[in-house]
Every structure is written in structure tokens, then in C-alpha cells.
Symmetry: C2
């Protein structure tokens, strides 16, 4: 896929990446380092409560890894932040997650004439088609041709 | 510090944890795994652009690690999500970050009479006192005594 520049962003269009199958050991190691709640790291405890679940922070990290499979590497300048981050359903080891990014809005940047501000709705979906995480993402993205763009 | 239950949450009160001094290798390893943009992983590239900066996802992970230094382990049941996550300033290796959590709001849960829903404003502050990241956090928290609480 060619690099996606500001001019290529079309509100309503959907990009997909994945699936990413959650490796149990990766989830356990991440949780042990960053969010060692029993439900994330203790298999005996978790077995009595529906099984090991992924920390929210880990799901955000998986989302970012999937974003890197899309052709933004040379065109995304910065991320402003996330809004409405929601964890809808538990994610377990071996779940296969797909990223769906739906472009929401775009406008030129006043301070960076070579860039635009783009927002998108990001969703992680499991193999059953259920939404497990969602949020809005707002990024600063390069224009292909600042002289000619609207 | 004693466990913090729902009854102990007082809107406006501030909890602090840290400082956490960002280890360069940890930042580089995290970025290589999850968000390998040149500004996060490539020292030569970064040297021409103000130095290596921390990925936003890494800062959220550091925030969670600092949350675990507060006495919530037995009392936080789940996180609903984050709102208004903003990355205000770049964070570099060796920066010393402190978490400031200001309680915002609280109410009893209708579906879980043994719990309440609590929100707080979380800020990571560097050694110069500058805010580097902020967001709202909403969590489900146990009551100490469901029979007697308001």
C-alpha cells in the first residue's frame, strides 16, 4: 500500500490491519511489568474468574503495533491524544484482534502549513466480530503537496 | 498507606506517586516493540530532532506502574476507560516523572451495590513541574462497608 498522506484521508473510509493473535506469554510479561493485577498475571486466581484478561494498556499497545502495519510511517508527524478510550469486553490469550480505523474528520493545520489534523475512530474487534476496545485518535499528518491541497 | 476504598475518595483531594526516572534502555525497548517511530528508537535521527522522545503508549504504561504504588490493589475492580488523553510535552530518557491524581467525582454503582464509580484527573509532571501527559480515569472501586456507606 502506498503512503497515506493528508490528501488521501476520506472521512467515512475504513482501513483494517490484523488479525493479531494475542500471545499468552507476551500478555503475561507485559502485565507483570506494567499492570500486575491478579486477573492479568495470576493464572490460578484468573482461572476462578473467567481466565487471564489483557490489561487495557496492553490493548492500546497492540493497537499501536497494528497501526504500524498501515502506511503512515513517513506521514504521521505526531499524536495529539486519545478520546473516549473504552474497554468493552475482556480479551484473553489467543484472541485474534483486528484494527478497524474509520476516518472521522480532517482540517489543515494553521501552525504547520505542511500538515493537517486528522481524526479517526479506532476499534479493536475480536474473531466473533465483537468490539473489545474503541477510542478516537487525533494526529498531525503530512500533506503530499502543500501548495496544491485544499 | 492503608487501602483506599470508595468511602475514602474525596473529590478535590490529590494523591502522588513517584518520581519515576525514565530508563533510556527501557524506553528504547518498549518503543522498538510497540511504536518504532524513528523519533522513539533511532538515536541518530532523534539527535537531529531534539533527542529521543517517549511514545505516548509508554507514558500511559508508566502512569499505570505509578498507580500500582498507590494502595488500590485490593479495591479497584475494573477500569472503564480514559478520556481526554493528551500528550503536552516531549519526555526524554532520564526525565523524572511524578503522578498526580486528583479525585474528581464519585457515585454508587447501580449494578454492583458493593462498588462505586470513581473518576480522577491524572497528570504526569516532570522535574521542572511541567505537565507532560494528562487524562481522566474512570474506575469501579469496592466499598469498605456497603451496608453503611452513603
Amino acid at each position: 500500500m502506498d503512503d497515506i498522506f493528508y490528501e488521501d484521508v476520506s472521512p467515512g473510509a475504513v482501513l483494517r490491519a490484523g488479525p493479531y493473535v494475542i500471545p499468552e506469554q507476551e500478555l503475561l510479561d507485559f502485565a507483570a511489568a506494567w499492570d500486575p493485577l491478579p486477573i492479568h498475571v495470576d493464572k490460578d486466581y484468573a482461572a476462578r474468574h473467567g481466565g487471564i484478561t489483557a490489561p487495557g494498556i496492553y490493548l492500546l499497545a497492540v493497537r499501536m503495533r497494528l497501526i504500524h502495519r498501515l502506511p503512515f510511517r513517513r506521514t504521521v508527524v505526531a499524536g495529539f491524544g486519545f478520546d473516549e478510550v473504552r474497554f468493552h469486553r475482556p480479551v484473553h490469550p489467543a484472541d485474534a484482534l483486528t484494527l478497524e480505523l474509520t476516518w472521522r474528520d480532517k482540517r489543515r493545520s494553521k501552525s504547520r502549513p505542511d500538515c493537517g489534523i486528522v481524526s479517526g475512530h479506532c476499534v479493536l474487534v475480536n474473531a466473533a466480530g465483537e468490539m473489545v476496545m474503541s477510542h478516537l485518535d487525533t494526529i498531525l499528518m503530512r500533506l503530499r503537496d502543500p501548495e496544491r491541497a485544499d
